[in-house]
Amino acid sequence: MGERRTIRTDYLARVEGEGAMTVRLQDGRVEHVELRIFEPPRFFEALLRGRAFAEAPDITARICGICPVAYQTSAVNALEDVCGVEVSEPIRLLRRLLYCGEWIESHALHVYMLHAPDFLGYQGAVELARDAPQAVERGLALKKTGNRLMAVVGGREIHPINVRVGGFYRAPSRGELRALVEPLERAREAALETVRWTAGFEFPERSVECTLVALSDPDGYAIERGRIRSDSGLDIAPADYDEFFVEEHVERSTALHSHLRDGGTYLCGPLARFSINYDQLSDAALDAAREAGLEAPCRDPFRSIVVRSVELVYACDEALRLIAAYEEPDVPAVQVDPVAGTGFGVSEAPRGLLYHRYRVDAEGTILDAKIVPPTSQNQRAIEDDLHDVVSRHVQLDDDALRGLCEQTIRNYDPCISCATHFLDLKVERG
């Protein structure tokens, strides 16, 4: 047995929230990789039981401060599914517009504040800002525009209060939305600049082999609804999720690990969306992707930063398109009367597929809730990727290896505040 070394960091910086990771090496071989996860959704599932179904959008919005709209949207989709209600097209498009704001905000935060410093050799955004203040200001401005869009449509920029089962409490006026056109046009330019910027980073050659899973919708690049598709031929309705995806309890973790029913590992998020739906991007986003050298499928987790940048362009374009075509709905919400049954809802959170399932009684009381966030679904793919990355770089010293592991995890933009608390990174060498 060789010399035993232990590497530890107290927490993984620049991942949302904190979690824990351990890598164990024996004689230069990776024996064990473990990403420990703590899951608030379990707490929220319990909290939802016994509550009125109308409360679900407000309660689930609080699971994550970064993607409240994703939680609200999957929740309302599921509850409208239970009750057999389909919202009008203007209401659906307004939801899509709100969701664009969240994509802009979340992607700008991750690309600029959390991920770009990895590629440019900075400890974090503060250090990056000392040398490249204009880049960081561009990221903050993009993020602010996303926040503003969320505030106008959602009523507040965080934990939007305007979303309800059946639609919205109040629909914004055309004038309110028109005021967003100019900032969104500036944001679109900033997003194009973001693609050029990130495309110039250096990327190690990397490819993950797992199945890619994303929503898909014939009417557009799927965000607020869709069927669940994979790059290997899966094409199912949200109601069939539990038949094809399995959550399994892993002893070392409080989290449930997801995998395909046949045992395969899968990945959701920007790489999967881009790979499956790229031909539905806007012209400007497609051009930007081509100029950046992106090709579908894209299986390189490091290049997810470029894909997020392309999605920033798309989200700005799509928001502008939706605003230009906006007609105030006759009523901001359709009536939803409770029906006993089970409903299923999905949407594309910035980090990937977010699945909700609710069982309610005839009075509309929630009897049972299941929430599967994207980071839980990606956990196994992240662990596999870490295993492979460490295997290929065992010769690195502990600090360099730790840095590479952190960057590998950040490639997936894990929403640790949904999925993990206190990330300790520990490398043990035997």
Partner: protein, 180 residues
Amino acid sequence: MRSRRLDGGSRSAGAGFAGAEAGKRRVVVAIGNGYRRDDGAGLAVAARLRGRVPSGVELVECEQEPSRLIDACDGAAAALVVDAVASGAPPGTLHRFDASSDPVPARLFRSSTHAFGVGEAIELARVLGRLPARVIVYGIEGAAFGAGEGLTEPVATAVERAADAVLADICNPEGDLAHA
């Protein structure tokens, strides 16, 4: 970096909040997550301040994602930030930092569930020249940060003291805090 525990001890002079340039916006930013037990301490302070802060002082609640505090502070002459912390001090300890010219210890805020730490947000604003001239950070030492509702008892008590301390900073231009 000036850091003091306020419980029990007398408050020595520090850069004042009330002494910010007259006529300019002042802002209180409360950060937290009400579904992560003591991480909701900042929001609980905000709830106690609502309706009690003088006109000209804006109260901003910032749930979970503190990079927003950069925008919240934009153009303000003074900012007062309240958040939960975990430094190993006894639960309920009230820390007060003058971050006007020195960084707050970023790792003190590591137990928050925030994506981008309060310390980082303040430093980023400083580097970009967007930090108000006066910045005071209150940190309430938490005990429990797991998923759940409700503050632990020592933190709930500290919230009352923190709200009083914040109001003293805001409302007492003649107090010793105003004379840095």
